[in-house]
Subunit: 118 residues, 2 copies
Amino acid sequence: MTLPHPNTDQISLPIVLGVLGDPTRLAIVRYLASKEGVPLNCSQFLDLGSKTNLSYHLAKLREAGVTRAEVVGTSRMITLRRADLDARFPGLLDSVIAAAGDDPALPAVGGHDLEISA
Amino acid sequence: MTLPHPNTDQISLPIVLGVLGDPTRLAIVRYLASKEGVPLNCSQFLDLGSKTNLSYHLAKLREAGVTRAEVVGTSRMITLRRADLDARFPGLLDSVIAAAGDDPALPAVGGHDLEISA
DNA sequence: TCCTTAGTTCAAAAGTTATTGAACAATTGG
DNA sequence: CCAATTGTTCAATAACTTTTGAACTAAGGA
């Protein structure tokens, strides 16, 4: 059972920007970026909303091509599609993450500040 | 008579991303970027929508801090707030414009391809 | 002053997005 | 098999966004 993802060349700039233009989703992306390499499942994000609501936001991110979700048992392992986004829109993800990196107006996962290397 | 603009430090990342996540507004920004230095008024953008609709989209861009509108007679001269955006979100505008630069899915102003130096 | 040009504002309609709870599926462990 | 865990789907609702036309304001020129 695999979930639908757009190909790299199907990733659309306005859709990506629109999807990132939501504080909850931006917080998800920021957290994913801070934990790159670490496998994260949906329940890591429950600080940001209800289970149902997170399912909705994570589906938006996945359908836009921002994240990849792999089914592993009953979990979905979520990762940033960094290489694909960098190939399609060079520098965009980096500048968004850098800009989001120190924004106290964004919700945070875990109720504590982000740790860049943890 | 001056129009309301946010200060540089009031410009919000999710709001900017959300505002740019609309094909019409992205086309406006792309065109403004291609004509930087040239004063442009609203009617330059009538290809992209009705007068009323453009007034709406240009107000969104201005209120988000993406553009500046100066009242000159009966016109408003529209410019990109490039320095302010670069200061607040380094690299973001450049990567968005570069990514939008060759996107045939975006509407175009003038019904022809953009000229970077014209 | 009267007309035109440039753009805004308003209210309505249409469409889209976000949020919720209840019900559902799939996998894993006992 | 049974129960718990993980996450999805569905339907409803609320909230927001986009688009439109008609009416409006403000400045500039004849």
